[in-house]
Every structure is written in C-alpha cells, then in structure tokens.
Symmetry: C2
Subunit: 188 residues, 2 copies
C-alpha cells in the first residue's frame, strides 16, 4: 500500500509518500514541502497547494491520501487557513479518485513514537529511524507528513477491518429486522 | 460587474449571482443551493461543492467571486467543514482566473440591512426587496449568497479604490526611499 501523507498548511505544506507492506515495514518514496508567500491572495496560495498535491499524486500514484485532521488552535486565522488548505488537498485526492483518511496529530504521534504527546523533534527522529533515513526530514512539516503516511500504513488495515465489520453488522441487523417484520405479518 | 457570491457549507452551500451597475442598482441573475449528505465522505462532499461552484462560474461567467469569511463558532467540527468548503470554493475561482474577495457576515448584514446584527429573516427580506424578487430566496443560504454578492457590488469599487490608493502610496514611499538613498550616496 502506498500512502501519500499531507500536513496541510498555507505557509508550509508537508507532503510525504511511504510504501507499507503487511507488517511494520515502511519505506520512504519521496517527501517535500510546498511554501506560499503570506502576502499573496488566499486563493492563489490554495491554488499552489492544490497543484503541488495534484502533481505529487500524478507522480507517485498513491493508493490512498492521509491528511492531518485540523483542530481549533489558539490562532483562529491560522487554523482557518490550515482548514482551507486541507479542503483543497482532500479535493485533489477526490478528483484523482482516491480515498481520503484523516488522522489527528496525537494519533500520528502515538503511532510513530508511542506517545500521543511527543514533540516535533521526537516525531522527526522516529520517522527518520523507521524509514532508515540518514537524517531527520526537514522541515518538520515534511517529517509530519511522512509520520502521517506511516501512521496510515499501520492503522489503515485495522480501520478497513473495522469498517467491514460495521458494514456486516449493519447488514445482519437489517436482515434481522426484515425477518421480524415478516414474522409479524404472518401472525396477522 | 457580475458577482458570484458563495455562502460556503457542506450541508448546504448557497450560490447567488448578481449584476451591479455603478450605483445602488442590483439585479438577480441566478441563485441556487448545493446540498451534500452528512454521511458521505468529506472529500466527496467537497468535490460536489467544488463542481457546483465551477459549473456556476462556467454558466454565469462572473467578474469576481465573493465568499463569506468563516469565523470560529461554537461548533468546531462545523466551522472546520465550512472552512474546508470555502477553501475549495476559492480554489475553483482561482482555477477560473477570477479574483476572490472575502466579506464577513456582519459586513454583509450591514450592507444589505443597515445593521451588522440583523437576523437571517431580515437579510432575506432585504435581499428580495433590493433584487425585486416576488418572494424571499430560499433556503436562507441562497439569500445569504445573494446578500454577499450585493455587498460586493457596493463595497467592491470602494475596496478597489482603496487598494489602488495603497499601491500608489507604497510606490511613492519606495520612490522616496530610493531618492533618500541616492542623496546619501551622493553625500559620501
């Protein structure tokens, strides 16, 4: 499974592509960062981010796109820009016919370092270690994007199994309700 | 000037197109709303919104796109979805080569009703009156989108003049600094 991870942002948007096998083995395919100037129009900045993600998808042909789930932070203006960037990233994936999954920063930290409260440096160190890179990926946004992709390589199969189990349970419940209705009809 | 106004949202996204002349005269060209099911994947929902805005731009060929500026509200999850929707709307406009302007809800309310604290019904009533519609545009999201477009018809020219004045002032300041530097050089 090839995962394209994105740490969305307008100032810096990290993109990382990781191959995962069945087990814990992960391999770095590519990573990079796209920057947009703060004095530029918001719509232009979003266009630059969207184009970069589109290009990365076309070049690396991932099976799925993992995006960091944006939470409200102290700086409302920043979080709005980040949310808007994550919107155009999800759109680019949908346009390419890819599924988009969201993971929270603490899910990523927990998956990569074992602690949901790990710092940026710890995440970068563990990402480099797991991907056998000679040095920490820079900037931190690129390391976060790779961490997100690793997180999805590991959590993805479990999430798929859970979704399958949920769908199966729903179907069983539906069949059960149908049988009950039929029995009630027969009694009338 | 033809303005396409968008009240961004995932559940309902209002779109309204208004023609403005030089004065206060405004004319309704078209309005509509795009809805996406809450149980659908976020990326699919964003795709539906983006496609609807793209289609409205292609059909009505506006000169500019006005989008409601998203603020943090009480419900963080809703505001994130709205911000993501506003991101793909701005992207659609940028892809069509159009400028995107943002107005806050209170700027729209103030422009249309005279009060920044007007309620949704008041806005819809005034929008219908200003556009000489026989009834209030429904749903409220469509009325808000039309209000946004009207707001831009009226505020746009002033904003353009201010931007021009700012650019001119910046240029003058730059020229002044250059002259100062030259004078300093000559003195050395």
């Amino acid at each position: 499974m090839r995962v394209l991870g994105v740490d969305p942002g307008l100032t810096r948007c990290g993109i990382g592509v990781v191959d995962g096998g069945g087990g814990r083995e992960v391999r770095c395919v590519w990573y990079g960062v796209v920057r947009t100037p703060a004095d530029q129009d918001l719509s232009r900045r979003l266009l630059t981010v969207a184009d970069a993600v589109q290009e990365a998808i076309a070049t690396h042909r991932p099976d799925v796109v993992a995006v960091e789930r944006v939470f409200s932070q102290t700086n409302v203006q920043t979080v709005m820009g980040t949310a808007q960037a994550s919107g155009v990233v999800a759109l680019a994936a949908a346009r390419a016919g890819l599924d988009v999954v969201f993971h929270t920063p603490s899910e990523v930290k927990a998956a990569v370092t074992g602690s949901g409260r790990a710092g940026k440096e710890q995440v970068a160190t563990m990402v480099a270690k797991l991907l056998k890179l000679s040095e920490k990926p820079r900037p931190a946004d690129a390391a976060d994007a790779l961490g997100l992709a690793i997180c999805h390589c590991w959590r993805g199969p479990m999430m798929a199994r859970m979704a399958e189990a949920n769908a199966r349970a729903k179907e069983l419940a539906k069949a059960h309700r149908a049988r009950l209705a039929e029995a009630a009809k027969a009694r009338r």
